[in-house]
């Protein structure tokens, strides 16, 4: 009993020391480094003005009422605009879009300073997204699964 306890104390300390000597760090040095998100990542949404047929399905299926059809006075066609104050990135709008006018970008690391910056009416909705970290010149890292270390982050070629 007593010896078992001592052995377990020693084992616990030895395990700690093992990791102290040979650490298994998986930290990504964000914002110096940024992970390249997986192919199908559901990030900020991009809107293709020309493909849109104004069917309104995206606004109808949006669970958070973030997507709205903006109807301009005098214009017949309403176009979708998104409100990132509410968007929950479920991707239903993209999956239901019958013309693939909506698509995911692989950018999700954004923060805003003002509330109205987060409103994206149709015109602004078409703008391209770039990751702020990459704009600052972050190294892009690919995630690799590894038996020894769990996750490894290797620079993208």
């Amino acid at each position: 009993m007593f010896r078992g306890k001592v052995r377990r104390h020693v084992e616990a300390i030895a395990t700690g020391l093992k990791y102290l000597v040979k650490p298994n760090r998986i930290t990504v040095y964000y914002p110096e480094e940024a992970i390249v998100l997986s192919e199908r990542y559901r990030g900020m949404i991009h809107y293709d003005w020309d493909k849109c047929i104004s069917c309104g399905l995206c606004a109808m299926i949006c669970p958070a009422d973030a997507m709205k059809m903006y109807r301009k006075k005098g214009e017949k066609k309403a176009r979708p605009g998104i409100n990132y104050q509410r968007c929950i990135f479920c991707g239903y709008c993209v999956d239901i879009c019958p013309t693939n006018a909506l698509s995911f970008t692989r950018v999700h690391d954004v923060a805003f300073e003002k509330l109205d910056e987060m409103l994206y009416p149709p015109e602004k909705f078409t703008s391209e997204w770039r990751s702020p970290a990459e704009e600052r010149g972050a190294r892009r890292l690919r995630v690799v699964f590894d038996e020894e270390r769990g996750l490894k982050h290797v620079p993208e070629q």
Binding site: G16, L17, Y19, P23
Partner: protein, 337 residues
């Protein structure tokens, strides 16, 4: 000219140099700043991450604690209306002062001790016993349920570890036939830890308990009582309370080194010839490594329950401490020392 030289002499005199420069105030601050960073870095390393880094990238964020300390210093200091102001404000300062005082009794080399008293070991330990009282004052002054709980825990813990700490230290005094640190070091032909390992183990655990470090950080038990007696403190006062444990621990590691790891022996003669206090560097290195090991334990252990810690104190350590006394007497009879 005369003024400058007398100033230099004053600074280099043991009475000033010991408490103020090394191992006292200045070194304490340096240790305080570095050890918390070391603790966070070690924990981070074991825990698959990096820890503080960007503040000083080339040194791995070594001045992290400077930022935290300055932030505490400049942050608003809130004195809640419900507190008892005098103990609330005074206790951290008193605690820090008493945590600093024991360094006046730490010798650095054979003939370099700030205060030449034959009882430096009991004086050192005795000064440390004031700190639990100040913690009680903080808890009482804070007038907060969590603080009072923490204060009661501190009181319980104190009676559990203090007797053990003293008895195990006195067993070494019995072994060396002296109560003075310097003479103890001289008496150690073999490091004390080999002569009386039981006493060393007991003292080691009791000093972790005393400083409230894991696995015995019961007084600050954040998962139950937020920050214990320090819950209501903000700004610089919290910075002080956070530092007390580390200062105390640093003092204890010095004492441990003197009693069990043969202090400054083997003495580095060339350094000693330049300036006697430099001989203490080896002492400091040993103590610091011990300190690093203790803060490393944070990465391995959680926290014991209060009653378990008390049981360890009374049922395991106390008999062991008594055994260590007899062991010392036996060794004395055989005539090892």
């Amino acid at each position: 000219m005369g003024l400058v030289s007398s100033l230099v002499r004053l600074v280099l005199s043991p009475q000033f140099f010991g408490p103020i420069v090394f191992p006292g105030l200045v070194t304490v601050l340096a240790v305080l700043l570095s050890i918390i960073w070391v603790e966070r870095k070690i924990a981070a390393r074991v825990q698959m991450r990096v820890g503080p880094l960007y503040i000083l990238r080339p040194l791995g964020g070594a001045i992290q604690m400077l930022a935290d300390g300055l932030r505490f210093f400049f942050q608003e200091f809130i004195v809640p209306e419900t507190v008892d102001r005098v103990p609330f404000l005074l206790a951290p300062v008193v605690a820090m002062s008493f945590a600093m005082l024991p360094f006046a009794f730490v010798p650095l080399a054979p003939n370099f001790k700030p205060y030449t008293v034959p009882y430096s070991m009991p004086a050192f330990l005795g000064l440390n016993t004031v700190i639990p009282l100040t913690v009680l004052a903080m808890a009482w002054g804070s007038n907060n349920k969590f603080s009072i709980q923490g204060g009661i825990r501190e009181a319980y813990m104190t009676i559990a570890y203090e007797a053990v700490l003293f008895i195990s230290a006195y067993s070494m005094a019995l072994l060396y036939h002296t109560l003075d640190f310097a003479e103890m070091v001289e008496a150690q032909k073999v490091p004390g830890i080999l002569l009386n390992p039981i006493s060393a183990l007991v003292f080691f655990i009791a000093m972790i308990m005393s400083a409230g470090k894991l696995p015995f950080d019961i007084v600050e038990g954040e998962q139950e009582i937020v920050a214990g007696p320090f819950t209501e403190y903000s700004g610089i006062a919290f910075g002080l309370t956070m530092g007390i444990g580390y200062v105390q621990l640093y003092g204890f590691t010095l004492a441990f080194t003197l009693m069990y790891l043969s202090g400054w022996e083997p003495l580095v003669a060339p350094l000693y010839s330049i300036y006697p206090a430099l001989g203490g560097i080896l002492l400091f290195v040993k103590a610091y490594l011990l300190l690093v090991f203790i803060v490393f334990l944070r990465a391995v252990y959680g926290r014991y329950r209060l009653d378990q810690a008390l049981r360890i104190g009374w049922r395991t350590l106390f008999p062991l401490a008594i055994v260590s006394v007899f062991l010392s007497i036996a060794l004395g009879v055989i005539g090892v020392v």
